[in-house]
């Protein structure tokens, strides 16, 4: 394989991973903000509807998902520095030595 093929091969993997983490997580965060607004009600929303408590629960779930994603990101950075890698072989991320 030449450099160009190798670069394109790497590029689409980076694109795929980045779409999930870099656009997906912010979207989940956005759902969190939206749910918070739903929970708060009143001036938080354009239509000034009454607050719905379920919104706060949904928001908490969304923010937890985002935090988990960030924790995963930090683990990847730290692990590679210590000669280990995060493996997705068992779906759940696990630490393996490189």
């Amino acid at each position: 394989m030449n450099n160009l093929a190798l670069a394109l091969d790497g590029a689409w993997k980076v694109l795929l991973a980045s779409l999930v983490l870099g656009a997906g997580l912010p979207m989940v965060f956005a759902f969190g903000v939206r749910s918070l607004a739903l929970g708060a009600g009143g001036s938080a929303e354009v239509d000034h509807a009454k607050g719905q408590p379920i919104g706060n629960v949904l928001a908490a779930i969304c923010f937890l998902v985002v935090l988990a994603g960030v924790a995963l990101g930090i683990t990847i950075v730290v692990a590679s520095g210590f000669g280990r890698a995060v493996s997705f072989a068992h779906v759940f991320p696990t630490l393996v030595s490189k």
Partner: protein, 404 residues
Amino acid sequence: MTTATIVLALVVVTALAFDFTNGFHDTGNAMATSIATGALKPKVAVALSGVLNLVGAFLSVEVALTVTNAVINIQDKSGAPKPEFLAGGGYSLLLILLCGLVGGIVWNLLTWLLGLPSSSSHALFGGLIGAAIAGLGLSGVKWNGDGTKLDGVIGKVILPALVSPVIAGAVAALGTWLIFRVVAGVAERFTETGFRWGQIGSASLVSLAHGTNDAQKTMGVITLALIAGGEWTDTKNIPFWVKLACALAISAGTYLGGWRIIRTLGKGLVEISSPQGMAAESASAAVILASSHLGFALSTTHVATGSILGTGVGKKGAEVRWNVALRMVAAWMITLPAAAVVGAVMWFIGHLVGGLAGAIVVFLILVAFAVYMYIRSRRQPVHAGNVNDEWEAPATTKTLESVA
């Protein structure tokens, strides 16, 4: 002290100076959007970024001797210098490293003066390539890899530079579009506060990744110089003081701020709101992390700029100042050759003068140039107090459309 020891000391000092410029040149990559939206006060942002760079630099314990090996032909497979360079205390190799670093610093300072976020890695590679061509001829440069992995100037520098901003831009544009779809109907004041937290988190992640990626490069260069000078023999480990010195240099540079570049990135390209800031920094963090995980080398600057542009494209009605973007892209394209020219000229000067005096002359030229740049920058200072002022194109290019 022998000649070689003094030259070695000069290389180490210059490498740390490069690391320092690398720090302030790239603060904006992580923090420009948070500063622009007011999520963080300017001083707090640079302090946070500095600390995270320090932490990040310590986390990168991987041996980085391969950094220089990817683009120039002075090392064998293990990363140790080739034996023909070791004569005279490694003088010929040290001179190439010194001139390459000077090329990188000079270009970093010039682009900083102009407020252009150019890639520090390209500046370093460019300087080294120029010095290697001058010292060893065209065969001193690894233009292309051997085809088994991404390598050489094309594989490690040029292709990633073309691909990474596009990926980052696409991810940020999609992220921005999704966010605004999801929060439609929520009051703007509510979203602004909510997304500030996301922005701070994602920007911190970029700072951390920056420390791990970029401090390594200087660590690699210094360790290579130490091996060439016979002061270190282990190709698997880096001396602790090198790691400490590099970590401190990059984080001190980051803390200094590089306000000119922060201003261009945060205010010049797009008027940014905090959901956009979060989308941009998340895209940057994801692309940098995914790339380093998959062994795809890239420049944090290219990624961050691509993301910020992308977030401008992704929001309906947002204005993107394409003239600023074009100036930046032009700077990217000439970064490598320009730094190479400086590196090559420095090598010829150093070689012409020869010996210890040659290295000292090159170093003094760098010092003189840096002082001149600093004095020039004081004419139109940009600092924490005015970094967020309304954007105006520089007087020379002020036209109706760029003011509008």
